[in-house]
């Protein structure tokens, strides 16, 4: 009888471990963890290529580690998300602040990834809010799944390491508080002061 219970217990334990492992593989990367490898289509817009430091003839795709800056801010957004619509002007202002601040311009780059959005939908969102920084489609949710199917808008602060990996130093859901507040906090955590 004890053996039977023991078998059931061990079987349940295996199920539990399998379930933990499965959920871990789709968990949202937190501060101190590695960001999953992400490949994005190289922007058609030459100004965006230049902004990201990508070579003119650098191929059709690039990785986050190819971006020429030590700090990368990734906003996971959706054209269909009311918070993302409301926060779009604040994101534009934040980008302008990064660009006009000497100590930040070359150190921090901002991009958006449209979860479940087609290239057309991302372009519609860009045009609606006149968004100056690069946005990328994730029409099949493949990147969204890699980052744990976060709600939107979600902000990741990433740092490139000497070994070429991309580490997370900031990982937070927006929406509940202003994007400006979240991004201020992100810069503070990064130890980046405005000059």
């Amino acid at each position: 009888m004890i053996h039977r219970y023991l078998h059931i217990f061990l079987f349940s334990l295996i199920l539990l471990l399998a379930s933990v492992t499965a959920s871990h593989s789709q968990e949202t990367p937190k501060a101190g963890e590695k960001f999953p490898p992400v490949t994005l289509p190289a922007p058609d817009n030459p100004a965006h290529r230049e902004y990201l430091g990508l070579p003119e003839d650098g191929g059709e795709t690039f990785s986050l580690s190819d971006i020429r800056a030590p700090v990368i801010i990734v906003e996971i957004f959706s054209m269909y998300c009311p918070h993302c619509q409301r926060e779009a002007p604040a994101l534009n202002k934040f980008y302008e602040r990064l660009e006009r601040t000497g100590g930040l311009r070359d150190k921090v780059k901002l991009i958006g990834i449209g979860a479940g959005n087609s290239a057309y939908e991302v372009e519609h969102f860009r045009k609606t809010y006149d968004i100056p920084f690069p946005l990328f489609p994730d029409g099949d949710f493949s990147i969204h799944k890699k980052v744990g199917e976060v709600r939107t808008p979600y902000f990741f602060g990433l740092k490139k390491t000497a070994t070429g990996t991309v580490d997370v130093f900031f990982s937070e859901l927006g929406g509940a508080k202003d994007a400006a507040e979240v991004l201020d906090e992100l810069l503070k955590v990064a130890g980046l002061e405005e000059k």
């Binding site: 004890i2 217990f9 349940s12 949202t28 009311p82 619509q85 519609h124």
Partner: protein, 197 residues
């Protein structure tokens, strides 16, 4: 030993059930959305076709008016956006996107009517979470799903398909798009169909 094994069994099984949700953490908005899981992509048979006069209807709106399709005859093109049910994942992500697509409809002199089989109080609470929608939201609750059924998009569980009907000023259907219920129709699909008027 027996007791200990039984307790451990219960604890480990509870752990299996809870891990998936606990790992993601609490999220007020997400917690209010009911996920029905993956559904049969299409579960009905269309009763209308392109070129046919669209069945008229008179449905109550969340704003407290009765909206008739025939109100727009000779005045405006009409797009009907049926979504399956309030408080479900894909539906809750669809209409908020149309908030920034008003110009696309205006360019084609079209009005958009959102319709579900939910009752008015449910639609009121649900659409309030979306912010200000520029188009009327109509309830096809009673007689239950009568309009959805007239168009042939009432599913066997009483919800409707996720479907778009494009109807010109003469009241004639110019395009029909019944989407896989698990997916959201792409904006470009709508933009292309708006050209059919």
């Amino acid at each position: 030993m027996k007791k200990l094994s039984a307790i451990l069994l219960v604890i480990s099984m509870a752990g299996c059930l809870c891990t998936g949700t606990a790992a993601r953490g609490a999220d007020t908005l997400k917690d209010n959305i009911y996920d029905p899981g993956h559904l049969k992509p299409v579960d009905s048979q269309l009763k209308v076709e392109v070129g046919q006069t669209a069945p008229d209807f008179a449905l109550p709106s969340v704003a407290g008016k009765t909206v008739r399709l025939s109100d727009f005859r000779g005045k405006k093109n009409v797009v009907l956006s049926f979504v399956p049910a309030a408080w479900t994942p894909v539906c809750s992500d669809q209409w908020p996107g149309y908030k920034i697509a008003h110009d696309l409809f205006k360019q084609h002199d079209a009005v958009l009517l959102g319709i579900t089989v939910d009752n008015i109080p449910t639609l009121f609470a649900w659409t309030r979470q979306m912010g200000q929608l520029w188009f009327p939201v109509l309830s096809d609750f009673w007689p239950h799903g009568e309009t959805a059924d007239a168009y042939g998009i009432l599913r066997s569980d009483g919800t409707s398909e996720r479907a778009l009907f494009f109807i010109n000023r003469e009241g004639v259907i110019t395009h029909i798009h019944v989407e896989n219920i698990n997916l959201r129709p792409k904006l470009e699909t709508i933009v292309e169909a708006l050209k059919s008027f």
